[in-house]
Symmetry: C3
Subunit: 336 residues, 3 copies
Amino acid sequence: MNFAGANILSVDQFERADIEQIFAVADRMEPFAKRRMVTRVLEGAILGNMFFEPSTRTRVSFGCAFNLLGGEVRETTGFKSSAIAKGESLYDTARVLSGYSDVICMRHPQSGSVSEFAAASRVPVINGGDGANEHPSQALLDLYTILKEVGGRGGSIDGLRIAMIGDLKFGRTVHSLARLLRLFDNLHIVLVSPEELAMPEVYVEALREAGHKVEVSTELMSSIAHVDIVYSTRIQEERFASQEEADLYRGRFRLNQEIYTKFCEPNTVIMHPLPRDSREGANELDNDLNQNPNLAIFRQADNGVLVRMALFALILGVVDQVEQSAREVNWYHRRS
Amino acid sequence: MNFAGANILSVDQFERADIEQIFAVADRMEPFAKRRMVTRVLEGAILGNMFFEPSTRTRVSFGCAFNLLGGEVRETTGFKSSAIAKGESLYDTARVLSGYSDVICMRHPQSGSVSEFAAASRVPVINGGDGANEHPSQALLDLYTILKEVGGRGGSIDGLRIAMIGDLKFGRTVHSLARLLRLFDNLHIVLVSPEELAMPEVYVEALREAGHKVEVSTELMSSIAHVDIVYSTRIQEERFASQEEADLYRGRFRLNQEIYTKFCEPNTVIMHPLPRDSREGANELDNDLNQNPNLAIFRQADNGVLVRMALFALILGVVDQVEQSAREVNWYHRRS
Amino acid sequence: MNFAGANILSVDQFERADIEQIFAVADRMEPFAKRRMVTRVLEGAILGNMFFEPSTRTRVSFGCAFNLLGGEVRETTGFKSSAIAKGESLYDTARVLSGYSDVICMRHPQSGSVSEFAAASRVPVINGGDGANEHPSQALLDLYTILKEVGGRGGSIDGLRIAMIGDLKFGRTVHSLARLLRLFDNLHIVLVSPEELAMPEVYVEALREAGHKVEVSTELMSSIAHVDIVYSTRIQEERFASQEEADLYRGRFRLNQEIYTKFCEPNTVIMHPLPRDSREGANELDNDLNQNPNLAIFRQADNGVLVRMALFALILGVVDQVEQSAREVNWYHRRS
């Protein structure tokens, strides 16, 4: 695809070459995101960071990515007081707001809303999450993380073995990731969830049609024994039909260091879209994994900045100017 | 008036020459607002964008205007958690906040509050709307839009025929616009509203004293037949004394393409302060006007950025430096 | 202490030499804060201004300080919609958010939370207030104000006579200030409050152990007769055990111009951490003091910007670069 001026609305708009281009640009963003270098390539440009639904980290990640390229950010958070609540159409909102900035990132609780908005916008729009529908930059950063984490092992996504664990029925991130994975070859995918929260058949079929091997399971431990990537997600108790059902699964999808040591191959990568619920009884990653070097969840969050910088640089057509204007960071920063 | 360091609190502070000066500067801001050129003339300056009442688009428009001149924006939105709610006087709030920025834009729900604030502020203050009282930048952008829309027809506001439609009793924008129009000559003004929502007599008298011809009507179609500008505003049903009264007028002030074609002269300009209510039964502009090239409502919103840039440049005394430091935009942008 | 890369969590981490270093840097920030000069020394750096509890002026003061050094600010305000509310640990929040910025200022309602956050953060953290516990930049700006206000009288804090008035039991600012004052010599401190709101014994003891003379009183007028500094704070009526008790003290700690003239020595400095309650019946500073040249409360707020600029410059190690890149302000600004 031609990125200059394009909207980023859905993972379905990408071909494999597009993904590879985004990731190649993301790699080049690392010196800036890691504060070794400064670039001002977007000095004077404005991002409209329009969050009609709150999401602190996604909002800050997009805003930070734009700042790291030298641009300014104007924001809105929340919904109730907005003109939309007074009966304004998304068409009008888009016509007006797109007069204020060079690119817009939009989150909105309603599925399909961002595409409708983008159709009326006069500047490129990135979907920052539209209800249960899409959150393409999250899927891209997940895939980018997989690629970087296995980099030392050949550096390809093709042929990887990936377990997705948790709420695979309602989880937007696993759906988008599954759709992206269709672009790659020879994957072995293990889908682990309570029966009530199984991956919808449409995604399973699509993965199989792409030539991947797909296994479905309700058991954590056997499922993570022979994979490269464990992608864990949150299970909300209220998703179950009854409390009895919820109790049945309580903690059964929780991965901790003991289980990891006992069942996983060495260097199995642990991922999670965050936030993880660290309260007692949560069905997620245990805090005792925090010292495990294969826990990639915070590198995953960091990668979000790289991927979002790449999207901005591609959409605004400044990739080749980024390094030209680079200089070294002149302030103290911790090495990490 | 001398703009350097001045407060912008009310349309009444302007003489005709002041308006003309603001509009001449606004014209010079267009290359920057349209992203053909970048200026950094206010690099290092800070706008305190203090919205003690929410208004996404006005807040973002002011913030964007300041960013386009190269300055930074610090913001607040909302009221409940602020010091004002703990019994702090506007005097104290102004003394403190004016230590943080070079200029302040303030919106506040209470009529007269911004003037009180400005009296204690140590930096210039722009009124971003104080309750039912004033919103001078809105009136300026409305007038600027009128001037630009009729530019090809002689380029003067003098002699124009303008219909104002909708809630003329409570509508802050039509009041401010009416006050500004006193500065011009030989206007023909048609005031169209339900009787209960008629323009207050004080404004009607003032327009007549200024030498304008003023007609009052409760009928939409005959009123828009011989005007250059149709300025439509929202009618909120709760403004009527009874539901029966509201039902009587439902949709009677709604302009659509069919009515436009049948009754309006060619090139009649359609304006609206936005947001417009696009829900069924609203008394406003129909969506089928969206393709009408004389629908100026989004150009009107865009003009807000130009006018606000002009106010900032005048108040901070940098008009003549803006172009000196200009350079071409180096990123992709759609032409629109 | 070595400031480069350090967290600023508590006033207890400072020795006297540290305080003096911060204040010396703060002095050098004045041309930038007063808008005579512009510096861009932190151009490209990002402050994460994370306010998980609202505080307009502290948030804007920190953000403004960072902008004045040329950096960008990404912010969050509020708590309910944040990941923390979904069970995310402070550890996770810190790991994620510290990937987005070069330094973080954090306010949080829970005592001790900011230290916990800082332990997991990958970038330096400044405590912007953690519940009833600490607010170190407030204590620093209070002390800096005392030093500057008495500058003409010898310029030392040693030997000063300071009255602290109001709610000394729950007031976080007087506790922090008391802790800082232990670093100085030969102070005479008068603690004035209703008995129910007296300074906790631990602070009184610490001041005495530091060699200071400490008096405790429930009478305003006699207490302010022989001091250099009157530091007034808010008394909230709901702090009293009963309404009768509250009524007993109503207005008895309110300082006005008449009392000042009658009881205070000439040039006694009046301070207050703000906001002050200007409503009838408040136990604070009367508005009739606003013209008193010794009312330092707004200079005190201004000093917050200087002190916060100093902290950022020290933590990020750019103190010596600030003036190198300085240039004169090119826009109009009022002299004040």
